[in-house]
Amino acid sequence: MWKRILEIVRKEFRQAFREPRMRVLLFGPPLIQLIVFGYAVNLDVERTEIAWMDQDHSPASRELLAEFTSSGHFQVVAAPAGEQDVRDVLDYGRAQAVVRVSPGFGRDIDADRTATVQVLLDGSNSNTASIVSGQAAGIVSGYAGRVLGDRQRAALVAATMNTGQPAAIRMPTLRARTRVWFNPDLRSRNFYVPGVVVNIITLVTLMLTAMAIVREKEIGTMEQLMVTPIQPLELMLGKMLPFGVVGMLDVALVTAGALLVFHIPFRGSGLMLIGAAMLFLLTTLGAGLFISTVCQTQQQAIMASFFFFVPAFMLSGFAFPIRNMPLLAQAISFIDPVRWFMEIVRGVFLKGIGIRVLWPQMLALLIIGTTVLSTSALRFHKRLD
């Protein structure tokens, strides 16, 4: 039996590698995805372009500008002169925010009144807008604190000079000391690239398995295979094993790329990753097998893989947090194997946790994997007879 399986495996490998284009297709997209998700996909807000409208022209307003530009978060790219200019700047997307200092800003501060700074944010990317508004509010608040501190010192000096005694006015203050775990620099790359590992292995094993079997159906060589002494089980294994191997190779390749090129931390156990990948493969190979029983043409196989893959991926917490989803969607993600594998991969890369914490996820993968694989195998078996 094993000899026959080995023959099928060898045939698949030869078919795959004989065509030079296929060789590229097996390893090219993973690398490309790695580059794209490592570099392009970036939710971090680095340096925001803002417009500065100073209607006051006082030392205080210039000081505030200096605070903004020296923070490293902002870069002033425009100086609108009037209302229409402000509207144009935001409409045309020339800047993400407009900071307007109204006339009388400096005077208000000197007169111990509350001076206001208006910040208009382009909300068309609400994600960026949230981050930018936090940064802007922080800078203004820091500036306010400094002004307050200056005032208190002045009051102190005045009080001392009046009474001749040192007046110590200390205020209680509150500070937050923040420690960010797992990804201290908050680089979104650290979050996405481990997800790419999952992405690659799913795409490759799912689609190529489905297509390999359907192609034979389409071309007609499936009937030829049926005439041989090969058993359905051996055919299944022979078709799935090569792509399982390719999937694991891709995992190794992408992980190496992630560590060497992007310096993603890898704090957990490699063995854990391999074990989880193998469990996950049960599902994807099984799903590929299932798709091949439903489709007659390669085009349909491609579409079906896509149809299964995209929602599974979107609901997995790869880019969009599961916590934000409505309860029904969260329930659906419970049976999404990509979700569990994603948690394991991220846990291994970033958190350095092991089987002690991740056993529920591994168990989920095992249950889902064996269910999918056995259902598909039964269906494949029936179809073949």
Binding site: Q96, R113, F191
Partner: protein
């Protein structure tokens, strides 16, 4: 150019699509699934961050600080832990995103006019959520610090002290800061690209693989007529998808559409036309379905998804990638979509983007026709 022949090809293509129910379902059901996902299930908004608190102080002062977090819509205090270790364990398990630790000397330090500290532990794995959550945490702590200071100053100096500078924030275009409002409009570009990338690029490659291309070549059909015929068929499918996407977006998900619907349609058709020509060009160059599909996904779908500004802002990308986005037509269409939906702007502001889409459509159409002619000859 014989219109009758082109029409015949269009009819044949439509019959192909309609008769293959799986392809048809994919062409219509897939966009629906995407709409459902991005309109309903997926969001980047940061709300109700699961927070665990370890209060070692247990005084009215510490409870006052915790109450601020409880009152904020951005945080959800999920529980109180008995130790810092317990909080760390919860973060490890992913049950808490945020941990607050108030040490035992918190109220004492405040009473002595010293600086008190609240320790914040944040799970940084999801850097986006963490960065936004961090901003919110700092805002809450800042507000409380200012309140404490104001109270103390009132007591000591006997007069009310107000903050010297205040920031007034106003958000334009999307005041509720809902990520759905900017993702669903951009989704139209992605949906149209699926039609262009998957359906179209597979079609001619399939004809080569199954041998019907030779049959077509033996007819009096001219390459331009064939291209036009196929284009019309897939254009019809794309049009249906576009109408569906717009209707569902506005009707079901209540995404604001502030600009001109007519302009939206016109630019959508322009974008669809260009994308379809590109798909046909690809399928003419690639002989196998697999290759055509991979190329289609690589050059149409992925750029539309990742590099168009649909979800990931282009401003945040490194310079070389940003340069690449200039040749991605989806980037211009997403700008147009966001402009029409959220900003309510018109041709004046969007002229450059529209011009690019028109030029792109013209160039790719010519290239596709030429490629077909070469293949055929």
């Amino acid at each position: 150019m014989n219109r009758r022949r082109a029409r015949a090809v269009a009819r044949k293509e439509l019959l192909h699509i309609v008769r293959d129910p799986i392809s048809l379902i994919m062409a219509i059901a897939m966009p629906l699934v995407l709409l459902l996902l991005f309109g309903w299930a997926l969001s980047l908004d940061v709300d109700r961050v699961p927070t665990w608190v370890y209060d070692a102080d247990r005084t009215p002062q510490s409870r006052e600080l915790i109450a601020r977090f409880e009152a904020s819509r951005f945080f959800q205090v999920a529980g109180y832990a008995g130790s810092q270790k317990a909080i760390e364990e919860r973060i490890d398990r992913g049950q808490a995103l945020l941990g607050l630790v108030i040490l035992g000397d918190y109220s004492r330090r405040l009473a002595l006019d010293k600086e008190a500290e609240v320790q914040v532990l944040l799970d940084g794995s999801d850097s986006n959520t963490a960065a936004i959550a961090l901003g919110y945490v700092e805002a809450v702590v800042r507000a409380h610090a200012q309140a404490l200071q104001a109270r103390a100053q009132n007591l000591k100096l006997g007069r009310t002290v107000r903050p010297p500078v205040e920031a007034r924030l106003r958000v334009w275009y999307n005041s509720e800061l809902k990520s759905r409002n900017y993702i669903v409009p951009g989704l139209i570009a992605v949906i149209l690209m699926i039609i262009a990338a998957l359906l179209t690029s597979l079609t001619i490659a399939r004809e080569w693989e199954s041998g019907t291309m030779e049959q077509l070549l033996s007819t009096p059909l001219r390459p331009a007529e064939m291209v036009l015929g196929k284009l019309c068929a897939f254009f019809a499918v794309g049009l249906v998808d576009m109408v569906m996407a717009i209707t569902v977006g506005v009707g079901v998900f209540r995404v604001p559409l502030r600009g001109s619907l007519l302009l939206l349609f016109f630019t959508g058709c322009l974008f669809l036309f260009g994308g379809l020509c590109w798909g046909i060009l690809l399928s003419a160059l690639a002989r196998s379905q697999l290759l055509a599909y991979q190329l289609g996904v690589l050059t149409s779908f992925l750029p539309a998804f990742l590099l168009s500004g649909f979800v990931y802002a282009i401003e945040n990308m490194p310079a070389p990638i940003r340069a690449v986005t200039y040749v991605v037509p989806a980037r211009y269409f997403v700008t147009i979509l966001k402009g029409i939906y959220l900003k309510g702007v018109g041709i004046g502001v969007l002229a450059a983007e529209i011009a690019f889409l028109a030029a792109y459509a013209a160039i790719v159409f010519l290239a596709a026709t030429r490629a077909m002619r070469q293949k055929v000859a």
